[in-house]
Subunit: 367 residues, 2 copies
């Protein structure tokens, strides 16, 4: 996840303009009001938290790219909730409904189940990209819950440890913990299981940079740092990251995902090309034992985190801290931060929507 911590210069985009633009674009593409709003919300929160790889521009690009390929999201699709005999679990068929609204509703359902059972899970078959997974679990954590999600990526780009061909998705995991009243923000552990994203290879190729070692292989499966030769990605942490990427594929396979190498492929009769989502929420009261020195649960979490970041570790950061810093910067600037190049892309959407574009010269530079 690239954040604002780069040499890029940012301008302040009014959030009202941004949210209206993203929602209007989804509506123009045929999506329902609630679908468009959910997508706009996820995009705004991603931008606000400095998640530039999963902002509205990326979301709308993915939407149109997949629609053109025949495997896109289906506007106005209804989620089928399969009744089952398991009281803390729901299985949904998303019927390729837009991922952002499905993810929001799945997390709500997990919260409802966790309130009764201490833990709740929703698995989602026939899903369409939910963009920023960290956003859904972060929201649950902000409301006091431990939350987790994983999904399968749309394309098989990652080579299994010891193999040569990409047969795994970049398969992200996202965990969030309710630590707002402890450290001021939810701790969010949220990353893909490849060392880098495919977009980074394109970026390095354009900019003439080498790739980090151990991140990519060429068409023969041999390691390379040359972005021009890179054909596939490697999992982070050798067999350990491979195992983590496999967790998503296995969850997907039990849920209803089909062959990973087919996901981005042409439609075949009887086959499935969709991703799956898995959501889980844990109520912190449902795992609470006793705490030392008369501390409450939250005080105990605070003491443990202070211990981890003490002893000379003041330079270590908590996962989620970059996102919190980015959000504070956005809020202090009174809007969402985008580069001039990103604003040009947003303006293109505005023109397509026949709505007013922004004049970059009139926008405040971000502090």
């Amino acid at each position: 996840m690239s954040s604002f911590e780069s040499a890029d210069r940012f301008l302040v985009v009014p959030r009202v303009w941004h949210d209206a633009l993203i929602a209007a674009t989804y509506r123009r593409r045929g999506y329902a009001e609630d679908e468009s709003t959910a997508a706009g919300q996820n995009a705004a929160e991603a931008a606000r938290h400095g998640i530039r790889t999963h902002n509205g521009i990326k979301a709308l690009h993915i939407e149109s790219k997949h629609r053109a390929g025949g495997g896109g999201a289906v506007p106005h699709a209804a989620v089928s909730r399969r009744p089952g005999r398991f009281s803390a679990s729901e299985v949904w068929d998303a019927n390729r409904k837009l991922g952002q609204i499905v993810a929001q509703e799945a997390i709500e359902t997990c919260i409802r189940l966790a309130e009764v059972h201490g833990i709740g899970q929703v698995s989602v078959d026939n899903a369409f990209h939910y963009l920023w997974g960290g956003g859904y679990v972060m929201e649950a954590a902000r409301r006091g819950y431990i939350a987790y999600t994983n999904c399968t990526a749309a394309r098989a780009e990652v080579v299994p440890f010891g193999g040569r061909a990409p047969t795994l998705g970049t398969n992200p995991h996202s965990w969030a913990f309710p630590t707002c009243d402890v450290v001021g923000f939810p701790i969010v552990i949220d990353w893909a299981t490849s060392v880098i994203a495919m977009g980074r290879i394109d970026h390095c190729r354009r900019e003439g940079h080498l790739l980090p070692p151990g991140a990519a292989v060429d068409a023969d499966g041999a390691p390379t740092v040359d972005p021009a030769k890179a054909a596939a990605l490697l999992p982070f942490g050798a067999h350990k990251g491979y195992g983590l990427g496999l967790v998503n594929e296995l969850m997907a396979a039990f849920i209803g995902g089909s062959l990973p190498t087919l996901r981005a492929g042409d439609s075949q009769p009887g086959e499935k090309h969709t991703s799956t989502f898995y959501f889980q929420v844990i109520h912190p009261d449902a795992i609470a034992g006793s705490f030392a020195s008369g501390r409450t649960q939250r005080e105990n979490v605070g003491a443990v985190l202070a211990d981890i970041l003490g002893h000379g570790n003041e330079n270590a950061r908590l996962p989620g801290q970059n996102e919190a810093t980015a959000a504070a910067r956005s809020d202090a600037n009174g809007g969402l931060l985008f580069t001039a190049a990103e604003i040009a892309e947003l303006n293109l959407l505005a023109t397509e929507n026949r709505s007013p574009a922004l004049e970059p010269a009139r926008l405040k530079p971000a502090l």
Copy 2:
């Protein structure tokens, strides 16, 4: 986890002798019959699966080391199960009961909860080392369930990403999937969140080997490959492995674990020095959607795995495959495989128990 795939030469130890020896040693140290049997079982299965880092020798060594330090397991301790309002969750206080029997019972309880709710969790406060975490989830997977466990390690040996001082445990994660009828063994993803274990540093120091780069730091927090200078471990995969190690500390902090740097420390009034366990079981039927081409869920999992290991990836291995190969080798040899040095340690225990030792010269070399 080192396995049999080394240059070491193995002899075949009769399982009956081994299991009787381990259980008798626990009984001699004051443990109850069922505690001793559970510990013997975990040790035998670890040895059988080639998990040499968590066999009976290691288990008994940890038991006596911690007992001497005052923070050991408590023979005959009773688990207090705290009744709660959450139907798919139980919170246990292990009162420092021997970890192996607690873990076995916790997984049984999770299975029972998952049969009703689709998912079940047990958190365990005041726990004592369960040794081979992979063994408990592997057993659940063999019986048809998806299972997960994590725990906090007894000592803070790992430096947070960006820090200098060890304030995190090696904090392992273990996932297992019911794939026996698909690939012949349960897929088990089971590793610590450090690049290497502390024992590897001792080993390299003894053998005059350098450490792998990025695995350890010296007393000032600077990276080193010199085992004589190594003072602490680094997480695997930079910030990603750090985040994974933090997941265990956070779960522990919500359950009741206290400061990680206190865990191995001297007893302080009002403080807690114990580890915590977290267990979770998912019923595969509770996440099942629909499957392409008329496949059953298991057939679908098989098709997905064949896809991942196809396309030129025949040399890639599935996590759990090494353990399955080791178990098959043990079974083919009709016993458990140990080196002469390991057998000398087992014989020492036998002598202490006043039970018959093995004569290495009379043991079959392992095929």
